[in-house]
């Protein structure tokens, strides 16, 4: 049917084109709904975790999260100037570190920074232990000046109020404390930070608020019943020695007595000296520079380390020759995987050809022989190679018995690259044979007969007629074997010794042993990119359409 305008319409009067599109869309939607559960499953259980892991290779917010004020204070400090940072930096460091130590976050930061600079781990751990002794003189003077400070409720009465009109929820202190503790902190419901104290005693109010939030949420205690931390005392001393102090709220009288007493000890106290007394390394530009260098939430440091460079306060540079390892390992992984793939073609092609051309009974027997090791545990097969290949093993014993090699010069077939190549070729062989077999099975034998009847020699018939048709099988087998071997880990670990291990063994080490997950993620990302690049190159040269996994 056509309507007045000449467009074709369907039975219901709609234009046929729109009607068809609509039906097609419905079909597509139905098809999509069918795969939706699988898609959701793959995304949730496979793609999302992989991206989450890969994201760690650039994510590095632990410094800015654990030492937020220090990072800001360090903005003005310059590594090139090689000067010791200002008192403000050490002051920020003291309060950040104190709270981090209470929340037990400082040691994790120490471990993180120790990947970059040796010694950071113990520097943070030891300093964390002695933070509560810093400014001891000041705190003693305060205790002597007023007994009221020994009463936890007195502190609470100064800084906390139940009156919402006279207080706030201490948003700044809350953000700061939440960042360090890495969990949502807040004051008890119905309790506010007193505005009067916050205005006149800003440092102490902030520290007390953080203390109260931590006590409430983490320790699950009542702040008014707990003695404030030393950091709150020092912050109060700081406020009381400020020149323009105007505090007339609760406890003003007692604080005035304290104010008179702390002036002298505070004049002698600096945060800088307190840190340097603890450990002189706190003045080391390398230490401070490392904190500053890794203070942004994202870093290129892991990727640089993964290619034998390092991110230092002075910029990216090559690491010492005696610690370069990753480039070597990447190259080794690539060339050994290629060798293994090539060995698989050499060994697998004739077997696949036999399987495809022998009568079914015999072909099935070979098929079982191919599949039997495939069904055996990977560890069993690898350990069996150990027994065969070692110097006192079956192969060497046989060679010595035949007289091919002397007893004193047994071959080193294991704990080196040879061992890895032999064992992995054996383990990955089925992945080459099976696609080859399925492709060869689909090549009609009549083609070879036709070639021969037209005068081709056996070799010409194979090379010009049969082989080109089996190339898609080789392609599929190569991709399978190469991609599997590039990420192999257990077999090289067991038979590879030191010269036959792959990059994946280092990734495993950083995941499970050194806990440097960022570096492991960077190495993994590079490996993934290399595989994708090779896949792309393969597609350009051979064409991915020529890959066949089945007949």
């Amino acid at each position: 049917m056509t309507d007045a305008n000449g467009t074709i319409v369907a039975a219901d009067g709609r234009p046929l084109k729109a009607s068809l599109n609509r039906a097609l869309r419905r079909e597509k939607l139905r098809a999509f709904l069918l795969i939706l559960p699988l898609l959701a499953f793959v995304i949730v259980s496979f793609i999302a975790p992989i991206f989450d892991m890969l994201f760690r290779s650039v994510q590095d917010d632990i410094t800015s999260r654990t030492l937020p004020q220090t990072v800001i204070a360090l903005d003005d400090w310059d590594y090139e100037g090689a000067e010791i940072p200002s008192e403000a930096v050490y002051e920020a460091l003291y309060y950040d570190m104190f709270f981090a130590a209470e929340a037990k976050k400082h040691t994790a930061l120490g471990s993180r920074l120790n990947y970059e600079t040796t010694g950071m781990s113990s520097l943070f751990r030891q300093t964390g232990r002695s933070l509560d002794e810093m400014g001891g003189n000041v705190i003693e003077a305060m205790e002597d000046a007023s007994e009221a400070l020994d009463d936890s409720a007195f502190w609470a009465s100064i800084f906390l109020t139940q009156d919402s009109s006279a207080g706030s929820n201490a948003a700044a202190a809350r953000a700061w404390a939440t960042s360090i503790a890495d969990m949502e902190l807040r004051l008890p419901v119905g309790t506010y930070l007193s505005d009067g104290a916050a205005e006149a005693l800003p440092n102490a109010a902030r520290q007390y608020a953080a203390f109260a939030m931590f006590t409430h949420i983490v320790d699950e205690d009542v702040p008014a019943e707990e003695d404030p931390w030393e950091s709150v005392w020092l912050a109060l001393a700081e406020d009381l020695t400020a020149s323009d102090l105007r505090y007339d709220g609760i406890g003003a009288e007692q604080l005035a007595a304290v104010q008179a007493a702390v002036a002298a000890p505070m004049a002698d106290f600096t945060y800088t000296a307190a840190f340097l007394d603890q450990d002189e390394d706190w003045a080391d530009p390398e230490v401070i520079g490392t904190i500053k260098t890794f203070s942004s939430p994202y870093t290129a440091g892991y990727f640089l380390t993964a290619v034998d460079l390092e991110l230092t306060p002075a910029g990216a540079q090559a690491v010492d020759e005696n610690v370069q390892i990753y480039i070597t390992l990447f190259w080794r992984t690539l060339w050994m995987s290629m060798t293994i793939t090539f060995s698989c073609i050499l060994l697998g092609y004739p077997i696949a050809w036999l399987m495809a051309n022998l009568p079914d009974r015999k072909a099935n027997l070979i098929m079982i022989l191919v599949l039997l090791p495939f069904w055996t545990s990977l560890l069993v097969r690898t350990s069996a190679w150990k027994v065969l290949l070692q110097q006192q093993g079956v192969i060497n014993d046989t060679l010595v018995w035949i007289g091919l090699v002397g007893d004193g010069s047994r071959l080193a077939l294991i704990n080196n690259a040879t061992g890895t190549i032999i064992a992995m070729t054996h383990i990955l062989l089925p992945f080459m044979i099976l696609p080859l077999y399925s492709v060869m099975k689909g090549i009609p034998p009549s083609y070879l007969r036709a070639a021969k009847s037209l005068g081709a020699t056996d070799w010409t018939a194979f090379w010009r007629v049969y082989f080109p048709q089996s190339v898609p099988g080789i392609g599929a087998g190569c991709i399978l074997v190469f991609i599997l071997s590039i990420g192999y880990y257990i077999t090289p670990e067991i038979v590879g010794g030191t010269k036959g291990v792959f990059i994946s063994n280092r990734i495993a080490f950083h995941i499970s042993s050194s806990l440097n997950w960022g570096l492991a993620a960077a190495l993994g990302t590079i490996l993934l990119v290399v595989v994708l690049a090779l896949y792309w190159a393969y597609d350009r040269i051979v064409g991915i359409d020529n890959v066949k996994l089945g007949g």
């Binding site: 040796t118 010694g119 093993g393």
Partner: protein, 368 residues
């Protein structure tokens, strides 16, 4: 009559107390250990008697201690910690404590006092190397050698490992800088007291690697504790380092022609941690088990099954004979005075700092 009332009351109190305690503890727990003979010794010495005392409690083993740190971190990030008590080496315990993944423990409050009346902290002494760590055994990494491959003069010093002329053939060392660098320096003439000071310097590290270079071509590097015993049994190596318990079972249980070389054995500790963030019921159960499993008698009992020294001083006099072989266990302990003439303890704090750096150097040196 009075007596029976008193008895009745105490029985009620006891039952009520039992019910109270039971009601606040979860009835199953997942223990994590290393598998093999070591886990079996824990099962026999700790878990079976504990379950006999607490019928209704079930314990499941997870053989994941070798990757406990990584797995706990992953569990913690996922917010679903499925382990209750985890057996780890001391270095891992320190790391877990640093990362906030293990629970801090008040040792005197949580653990039973020693049988001799000493407090838990006195009884364990210096072995409490972290606030999160409950020591269990002292083991050592040391050498074993093939009797038939060393000629008439068996090695007596760890430096014989470096003597390729007197003891030609392959050796096995752990694929890890720890202990190897210390031994290299000791054999290069550094006094044990100065080893870590020397190793802190670039020259000292070069010196240790230079010493290792002299035997590099004759070394098979192992990564699993079972490697060296297998290599010794097959005659692949003349001598090799591994954990002393592995050598004990090779020599005494499997009757191989192998002997121990205790010289400069490196002590290390293994013990328990409780993961941070358990629910109160599971935490209570874990603490209850820990108190039982680390008391004086239980630690001494474990030595019936495996040749690792109990971590409590008060357990040492109670160490008896092997449960199956019937031999005296004390002479096979790394801590036995005859064996412990030259020893050093894994320096945890030092290695926490230098591990990342030296491991990179060590791996690069291996790859050269």
């Amino acid at each position: 009559m009075k007596k029976s009332i008193a008895l009745g009351t105490s029985a009620i109190v006891a039952i009520a107390g039992f019910a109270y305690a039971e009601g606040h503890m979860s009835s199953d727990m997942t223990l994590v250990s290393w598998g093999g003979a070591y886990q079996a010794s824990q099962q026999k010495a700790y878990v079976e008697p504990y379950i006999a005392n607490n019928p209704g409690v079930t314990a499941v083993w997870d053989e994941s201690s070798s990757e406990a740190v990584a797995k706990l971190r992953a569990m913690n990030e996922a917010g679903n910690v499925t382990w209750d008590v985890v057996d780890v080496v001391a270095a891992d315990a320190i790391r877990l404590c640093d990362e906030g993944l293990a629970m801090e423990i008040d040792h005197d409050e949580v653990l039973a006092p020693g049988d001799d009346g000493s407090s838990a902290t006195d009884d364990f002494g210096d072995l409490i190397v972290s606030d999160c760590f409950v020591p269990q055994i002292v083991y050592s990494t040391t050498f074993g050698y093939r009797d038939d491959l060393v000629g008439d003069t068996p090695p007596t010093s760890v430096c014989d490992v470096y003597d390729l002329e007197a003891y030609p053939g392959m050796r096995s060392l752990e694929r890890n800088p720890i202990a190897n660098l210390e031994w290299a320096l000791i054999c290069d003439g550094v006094d044990i007291a100065d080893v870590y000071d020397v190793l802190e310097t670039e020259e000292g590290q070069d010196r240790a690697f230079a010493k290792l270079d002299t035997i590099k071509d004759s070394v098979i590097w192992w990564s699993a504790g079972a490697d060296t015993p297998q290599l010794l049994a097959d005659g692949e190596i003349v001598m090799g380092s591994t954990y002393n318990g592995r050598l004990f079972s090779l020599i005494e249980e499997q009757d191989q022609p192998v002997s121990m070389l205790w010289d400069w054995q490196m002590f290390d500790l293994d013990g328990w941690i409780i993961p941070a963030g358990l629910s109160p019921e599971r935490e209570a159960r874990a603490l209850d088990f820990l108190r039982f499993a680390t008391d004086t008698q239980r630690l001494a009992d474990q030595a019936k099954y495996i040749s690792y020294g109990p971590a409590r001083a008060s357990s040492a006099p109670l160490v008896s004979t092997h449960a199956e072989l019937g031999i005296e266990m004390a002479p096979h302990m790394p801590t036995d005075p005859a064996n412990a003439q030259n020893t050093f303890l894994f320096n945890y704090e030092w290695w926490a700092d230098y591990r990342d750096d030296l491991d990179a150097k060590f791996q690069a040196w291996l790859a050269q």
